[in-house]
């Protein structure tokens, strides 16, 4: 019960706090709209206007990913800068219950990107918003957000030992955008990159959203997104415990 209370309070606190951050709003609203706009013009210039809704959904999930990645990169770093990391680690609450609400909040902020990108596409580019499986679409959104949030926890847990996690998260934005097929179908990438994409929740999340919106079988993709989320949670908890202990042992916890 205490764990649920900590999670709920943390999620509420971080969601409100991030909503007040101009930079987060920029990341989660402006960036996906811009990426979507670039993709729309590219598809139009290439004579493929039929793929615009496909691109809009990809750009929306990119927004969730971008926000999650930035948040997971900053999760440890911000605590270091604020001098609160040691306090949080030494408190009796398991550290994972402190980190999880933050990474979930960063992916939940991505809901702004979803709404902004789809509205932008509808209003500016006239992309019709019709859903083949509306119920599946409504379930695929929280499933994708949860899957990405838990992936953020996994990243954040491995960033404990790395002093420049923000730089690493900057670097990871493009490769994941590429291998998860958010805007370019995975089938157009080299075969060796496919298994990497399969291990990442955004691949299944966007596939589920597209199948729900454009027609197909979204439920297996939604199931895979959630299953990967559970795996990320297990790995994240293990890594967090291991790396936290290693950082305490080496006295590098608060080093910036």
């Amino acid at each position: 019960m205490t764990a649920v209370r900590v999670l709920a309070a943390g999620l509420r606190f971080h969601f409100k706090s991030l909503t007040h951050s101009g930079f987060f709003i920029l990341t989660s609203v402006f960036m996906p709209m811009l990426v979507a706009t670039v993709a729309f013009y590219m598809f139009r210039a290439g004579g493929k206007p039929g793929t615009l809704f496909y691109a809009a959904l990809g750009a929306a999930v990119y927004g969730i990913w971008s926000s999650t990645l930035f948040g997971s990169g900053g999760a440890i770093q911000w605590q270091r800068w604020q001098g609160t990391l040691e306090l949080l680690v030494s408190s009796p609450t398991p550290f994972v219950l402190v980190m999880l609400p933050l990474t979930l909040a960063t992916s939940t902020i991505g809901i702004y990107s979803m709404v902004a990108t789809l509205v932008w596409g509808r209003v500016v580019f006239g992309i019709p918003f019709t859903l083949v499986h509306p119920l599946a679409f409504l379930i695929a959104i929280p499933a994708t957000i949860l899957g990405l949030g838990l992936l953020g926890l996994l990243f954040a847990s491995t960033f404990v030992l790395y002093r420049h996690a923000n730089a690493l998260s900057n670097m990871l934005e493009w490769p994941v955008l590429l291998v998860t097929g958010l805007l370019v179908p995975i089938s157009r990438l080299p075969g060796w990159s496919h298994p990497i994409g399969w291990l990442l929740a955004p691949s299944w999340g966007v596939h589920g959203l597209r199948d729900a919106a454009l027609g197909g079988t979204p439920w297996p993709d939604i199931g895979m997104t959630l299953a990967l989320g559970v795996a990320y949670l297990a790995l994240g908890m293990t890594f967090l415990r291991y790396f936290e202990r290693a950082a305490r042992k080496q006295a590098t916890l608060a080093l910036t």
Binding site: N166, W174, L183
Partner: protein, 263 residues
């Protein structure tokens, strides 16, 4: 004159080292060298899927635009960070020539931008099939990249000079940086954009440089794209003049209102 040169070169380098003392290879390499390679790969793949242009179009556009990460963000920080570091008032209390003080800092930024761009071209040559410019194009391409990065650095300094007054200039720097993807013909042929976007794009740095770079990669000589290169240079001079004008204006206003470092 000796003092001007000393402040411009030595002072610029020292100021850069002071303002960017937090940069480490573990930050620079992932952000400035590895990230842009994936940006180039992503847009090349997206272009192929969208059926628009060829790999050279995307490599040249993105390799030159990658330099903007240094030019825009570092250019902004070289001026704007004096306020949060609380060194602006002592700096402006000196009688040093303002042009030498602020514009000298642009040289290390420019050098970093050139490294990022050259790295982008070199790695693209190794990784992307279909990007195979003639070796003879390298000197001309180097000139185009130098002019483009200079122009973009001047743009970054302009944003930074606004930071002498504005509360949060880094948000603007981010918006400007990312808008370059859309407006400067980096990934979209400029003529396919709406007219008003094309007009804005023509006033932005990089637009003409990227166009010149693409022609050179296709085998054109430097002389044949000289019009584009001169235009890029003029655009950069315009932004540089604006940057220096804004620095002078905000210094004067800051002194008058005693608000140099207040927010």
């Amino acid at each position: 004159m000796t003092a001007f040169v000393r402040i411009f070169f030595v002072g610029g380098l020292i100021a850069y080292r002071g303002l960017f003392n937090w940069i480490r290879p573990s930050m620079y390499i992932p952000t400035m060298l590895i990230g842009p390679i994936f940006q180039i790969l992503f847009f090349t793949k997206l272009g192929a899927y969208a059926g628009v242009e060829n790999p050279t179009f995307f490599v040249v556009g993105n390799a030159i635009q990658a330099s903007a990460m240094s030019a825009v963000f570092a250019g902004t920080m070289t001026i704007a960070n004096e306020r949060p570091y609380q060194t602006l008032a002592p700096l402006l209390a000196t009688p040093a020539n303002r042009f030498a003080v602020f514009m000298g800092r642009a040289l290390p930024v420019l050098a970093s931008g050139l490294v990022v761009s050259a790295w982008g071209f070199a790695m693209s040559r190794l990784l992307i099939s279909g990007f195979d410019p003639p070796l003879s194009s390298i000197p001309a391409m180097a000139v185009v990249v130098l002019v483009s990065v200079s122009s973009c650095t001047a743009f970054g300094l302009t944003i930074g000079s606004v930071g002498l007054r504005a509360r949060d200039v880094f948000m603007s720097a981010n918006v400007c940086y990312y808008l370059m993807w859309l407006l400067c013909g980096v990934n979209i042929p400029l003529h396919t954009l709406p007219g008003w976007m094309q007009q804005i794009g023509k006033l932005m740095p990089l637009t003409h440089g990227i166009a010149a770079g693409r022609e050179i990669a296709a085998g054109a000589s430097l002389a044949s794209v000289s019009g584009l290169v001169w235009t890029e240079l003029l655009v950069g001079l315009g932004w540089g003049t604006l940057a220096f004008g804004l620095v002078s204006l905000f210094e004067h206003e800051g002194r008058r209102r005693a608000s140099l470092e207040s927010y």
